[in-house]
């Protein structure tokens, strides 16, 4: 983790000299006007979320969880991929060590949420803590991606993120029930392409984020590192290691000296 110290010290020196227009985005505020646009922005996620939740409910029914247990997990853990991975490898008998294994598994899948909430700090950090921290409990891939895109276009209304995130949360809670009840028909999510819902949404979010080949270098780094880690290491470490590599790489790519604001924005 040496890069961490290095970027931080570099940063302190640079901060007083360089000013970027992107650093001066408006502070967060709450206005109901953004609730509907926020929901519209996450709407493409809803079919995938519902289908994913249904597939998860079906899997849980197969694994002999009670519906009450499934709903507790949906409401508290609230991380679709981590829940899937955990239930798929659920041990027959829970012991201290098998619970620790589940915790580690959950951590490797969900540690990306730390990066996501960190990236929301410049925006939500301007709100009182009692508002900002509960909002961070709702961070998911889809809600966060939509919020980041809104922020990139200069948005500051906290309801945009929170409204969409709440809808995703409720949809997630509801989705497991039909899946649990109809377990037998839905046990194979692949049949309906449900496993493609997330990757397809990701791909769709990648297209508008494309701002030229130079700014896509971190993506290539993230992808290559993730693949290598995927092949070398068991488990789900590839997400966090790949994502961090891409971000760190972006930190080291200096914007061209001539017109930094032009290429950056």
């Amino acid at each position: 983790m040496t890069w961490c110290r290095e970027t931080r010290t570099h940063g302190r020196h640079a901060s007083s000299i360089v000013t970027s227009p992107k650093l001066k985005l408006a502070p967060a505020y709450w206005s109901r006007a953004a609730i509907l646009p926020g929901i519209v922005a996450i709407a493409p996620m809803l079919p995938g979320t519902l289908a994913f939740g249904m597939a998860f409910g079906a899997l849980c029914a197969e694994k002999r969880f009670s519906l009450a247990e499934v709903e507790v997990m949906m409401a508290l853990v609230y991380g679709g991929l981590s829940q899937f991975v955990a239930v798929q490898s659920w041990p027959d008998h829970l012991t201290a060590s098998s619970i620790a294994t589940l915790a580690l598994l959950t951590l490797t899948v969900n540690i990306r949420f730390a990066l996501m909430s960190a990236s929301l700090r410049p925006w939500f950090g301007t709100l009182p803590r009692w508002q900002a921290y509960p909002a961070m409990l709702l961070v998911t891939d889809g809600g966060w991606l939509a919020a980041v895109r809104y922020r990139e276009h200069g948005g500051a209304d906290a309801w945009f993120y929170t409204g969409g995130a709440l809808v995703l949360y409720v949809a997630w809670l509801v989705s497991a029930v039909p899946g649990y009840v109809l377990a037998e028909q839905l046990a194979d999510p692949k049949k309906y392409g449900v496993d493609l819902a997330m990757p397809a949404f990701y791909a769709a979010m990648l297209v508008p984020a494309w701002k030229g080949a130079r700014l896509a270098i971190p993506w290539v780094v993230a992808g290559v590192v993730a693949l290598v880690v995927y092949w070398l290491l068991a488990g789900w470490w590839f997400i966090i290691v790949g994502a961090l590599s891409g971000a760190v790489c972006a930190g080291f790519i200096e914007p061209p000296a001539a017109k930094p604001e032009h290429t950056h924005g």
């Binding site: 079919p47 990306r112 900002a132 692949k190 819902a197 930190g251």
Partner: protein, 105 residues
């Protein structure tokens, strides 16, 4: 399904929840101590794309031709229609159709 809420299962869920909440709040909390310099800003700006690629690429490669083809179809749909909704439907439909036609993966 003997019990409604088994206590050992609840304990496991509690631990998983604690880990996940720590990730969700911890990143936000830690970032409060980081000076958002232009360099850090560039790192944060690169995060969405990096997380997407890092999370999806190994899964796509592992998923084989059907998954990769479906993702490419979703990207093409996004470029053509500029609509996330259509992209997701296209991605799912292409994979479902390919599998229905007997392509594995």
């Amino acid at each position: 399904m003997a019990e409604l809420l088994r206590s050992d299962v609840m304990l496991a869920f509690a631990v998983m929840t604690a880990v996940t909440v720590a990730a969700r709040l911890g990143g936000f909390w830690l970032m409060g101590y980081v000076n958002v310099t232009p360099r850090i800003r560039r790192m944060l700006d690169a995060l969405p794309g990096s997380i997407i690629v890092a999370a999806a690429l190994p899964v796509a490669v592992h998923g084989g031709p059907v998954v990769m083809f479906a993702i490419v179809a979703a990207i093409v749909a996004t470029v053509v229609f500029r609509n996330d909704f259509i992209a997701v439907i296209v991605g799912m439909a292409v994979a479902a159709l390919a599998r229905a036609m007997g392509f594995g993966g």
